[in-house]
């Protein structure tokens, strides 16, 4: 049946998210979804991340406006939650750091006066989870990133677009995945000892 389909939540590592700077709209309608296009060719309208909340700060002046920093094995994500993200704002105001959190949200970008593009996440929901969920997320994200890297040398439209805009080097992101997996391996070894 035609019509509305929910956008799938993409899994992206922090490093790749930070290195993304291309946004576009699919179609000209005001309701057309907005996408962040990443260097390995993921079209992100909604994303799902699980990581460690390592910093949180209320940077709002009148009403609460929370900034949080969530780290994964490759870097960290910034999240911003104000009155229109009540669920996430509440969790941020109540929780301690560090804590494992799962976040579903939309990517957003900000262009600095110097022209640099910064990415952050506007969370739809945010909850505290356990360490195993975090480990599984790292595995899942590693798997789908590798799948995208496999498509990159082909002439798939997303792959062509990624290569044209970012001149993506597969090696760069393969080593990011390796880094993530190695750190997970160490985490598990530490737990087993």
């Amino acid at each position: 049946m035609a019509g509305y389909t929910r956008e799938a939540a993409r899994r992206i590592f922090a490093q790749e998210f930070r290195e993304s700077n291309l946004t576009f709209k699919d179609g000209n309608d005001q309701y057309s979804p907005q996408y962040l296009f990443t260097p390995t060719g993921a079209k992100v309208n909604r994303m799902f991340i699980v990581g460690t909340l390592i910093e949180k700060e209320d940077i709002g002046s009148e009403s609460e406006y929370w900034r949080g920093k969530v780290s994964d094995p490759t870097g960290s994500f910034f999240i911003y939650a104000g009155q229109y993200q009540p669920e996430a704002a509440q969790v941020l105001s109540e929780c301690d750091t560090p804590e494992f959190v799962a976040i579903v949200g939309k990517p957003s970008t900000y262009t600095t006066p110097e022209g640099e593009i910064l990415t952050s996440i506007r969370p739809e929901s945010m909850y505290i989870v356990d360490g195993e969920t975090r480990d599984l997320w790292v595995l899942d994200t590693a798997r789908v990133t590798l799948e995208r890297l496999k498509v990159l040398p082909t002439s798939h439209p997303d792959a062509l677009r990624a290569k044209e805009h970012y001149r993506t080097e597969a090696k760069h992101y393969a080593s990011m995945v390796l880094k993530a997996l190695r750190s997970l391996q160490e985490d598990i070894d530490v737990m087993d000892d």
Binding site: R6, V101, Y127, E132, W137, V177, L178
Partner: protein
């Protein structure tokens, strides 16, 4: 009338062949007297007199049909059905129509004196999707013209039966041939029109998928583990999922092991197949699938609910939409969105599954609600414990205008061997980094 309009009337009568000059003149005269601008008046006349030629289509193009069309075909079955509409009894006629390109279901909302075997040409009918299946609808404005026997129209819909693998069978098929292994079979006594009848129900599978089947005719010698080859089974729809129906039109025979194109043992012992949510979304309905993903949202309507004791509908404040004020039955459920990165589906968990996944019994949930004096407290608590978690769900999927839903028959937290998955991934990395 002024002579200066003569060339326009001339022009109109050329465009409208067969319409009298004076008719056009009177019409134009009338419109002009009512101060209609000349150009607009000419367009109005063209519209009024132009023969409404409906475009004629063939059944194979039914999905691309214009809003209203004409079609020629043979009625191969028709059945009168009684319906109650807003308290009034009405009859409608439904059946199947074929032409030289295919078969299609139809519904006539009026009595057009249709009989099996009639060759008809119908005008001003439209196509509607019913359960994701195209249907021709005859309405008040439709015209039926009966035609003499036409040998170019086939008499039997069986010539359109396609042979397919199980996974390929979809709602637009009416008759289908295939082969598979019977993995479940049971007999059920039902009463049809006052007569005791035994029907056979079960599941049939091949190496691509499985579907439920039912048979109204005895299937002697068929048991679990038998492979069969069948021709001309009807495809029915139940909650968006195709099911196979064996009737007197269907023929079948047991398939000896050496003629099986698939491994019987493998199918019999096969665990349900895990598939990506993206591929679930591509199909209108799938029977018995397993998906895994993260719960990324718990929807309103989850938590403690009350149901109508008569119809089982969810009710609010003890008032049922259909049965008025009733004493509600307490229940608990989870409605959530499961996402694996390839797509997202709604999942529905009943009380038993909710209790296991949420980790609290309904009584405990009621205590939470009592302590905080709010039913929302349970919903909030479900969100806290469920969002982000990994979950595997097994059940049937069906698609509606609101999205694709899997009603869970089983749900569990997948037990993952982290280390072995990690090693697999490390092996997949390119060597030169």
């Amino acid at each position: 009338m002024n002579d200066k309009y003569a060339p326009h009337i001339e022009e109109l009568s050329k465009a409208l062949e067969g319409v009298g000059y004076t008719d056009i003149q009177t019409e134009l005269d009338n419109l002009l007297r009512f101060r209609v601008p000349l150009e607009e008046a000419k367009r109005t006349i063209l519209n009024k007199f132009r023969p409404k030629e409906a475009c004629e289509i063939k059944i194979k193009d039914i999905l691309k049909s214009p809003k209203s069309f004409a079609l020629k075909g043979r009625i191969i079955s028709v059945e009168k059905k009684k319906i109650v509409l807003k308290g009034e009894t009405a009859y409608l006629y439904s059946g199947k129509l074929l032409d030289e390109t295919g078969v299609c279901l139809f519904t006539a909302w009026d009595d057009f004196c249709l009989n099996e075997g009639d060759i008809i040409k119908i005008y001003n009918v439209h196509m509607k999707l019913w359960n994701n299946r195209p249907e021709i609808n005859f309405g008040q404005r439709s015209i039926v013209e009966k035609l003499p026997e036409d040998p170019s129209l086939p008499k039997d819909e069986k010539i359109f039966t396609q042979t397919k693998k199980i996974i390929e069978i979809n709602p637009s098929d009416l008759l289908v041939s295939s082969q598979g292994v019977v993995t479940e079979i049971y007999h059920r006594d039902i009463i049809v029109k006052g007569k005791d009848t035994i029907i056979i129900e079960g599941v049939i599978a091949d190496d691509t998928g499985k579907l439920p089947f039912s048979s109204w005719v005895p299937m002697e010698g068929v048991d679990i583990g038998n492979a069969i080859n069948f021709r001309d089974a009807h495809v029915r729809l139940f909650r968006g999922i195709p099911s196979l129906n064996f009737t007197h039109m269907t023929s079948w025979e047991l398939l000896p092991d050496n003629k099986c194109p698939f491994s019987k043992n493998k199918i019999m012992t096969d665990e349900p197949s895990y598939i990506s949510i993206g591929s679930v979304l591509e199909k209108d309905g799938l029977f018995d699938v397993v998906v895994t993903g993260n719960i990324i949202s718990v929807r309103p309507g989850s938590g403690l609910i009350e149901r109508c004791p008569v119809c089982n509908r969810v009710i609010q404040n003890n008032v049922c939409r259909a049965h008025g004020t009733v004493e509600g039955i307490r229940d608990m459920r989870v409605k959530a969105i499961l996402d694996d990165g390839t797509g997202a589906v709604y999942i529905m968990l009943n009380r038993e599954l909710s209790e296991v996944i949420y980790g609290r019994s309904m009584e405990e949930a009621e205590n939470i609600a009592k302590l905080s004096m709010s039913k929302d407290a349970v919903y909030e608590s479900m969100k806290r414990s469920l969002i982000g978690t990994y979950l595997a769900v097994r059940g049937n999927s069906s698609k509606s205008e609101f999205g694709t839903t899997i009603v869970a028959r089983y749900a569990w937290v997948p037990e993952d061997d982290l280390l072995s998955r990690l090693d697999d991934l490390l092996l997949k990395l390119p060597e030169d980094i």
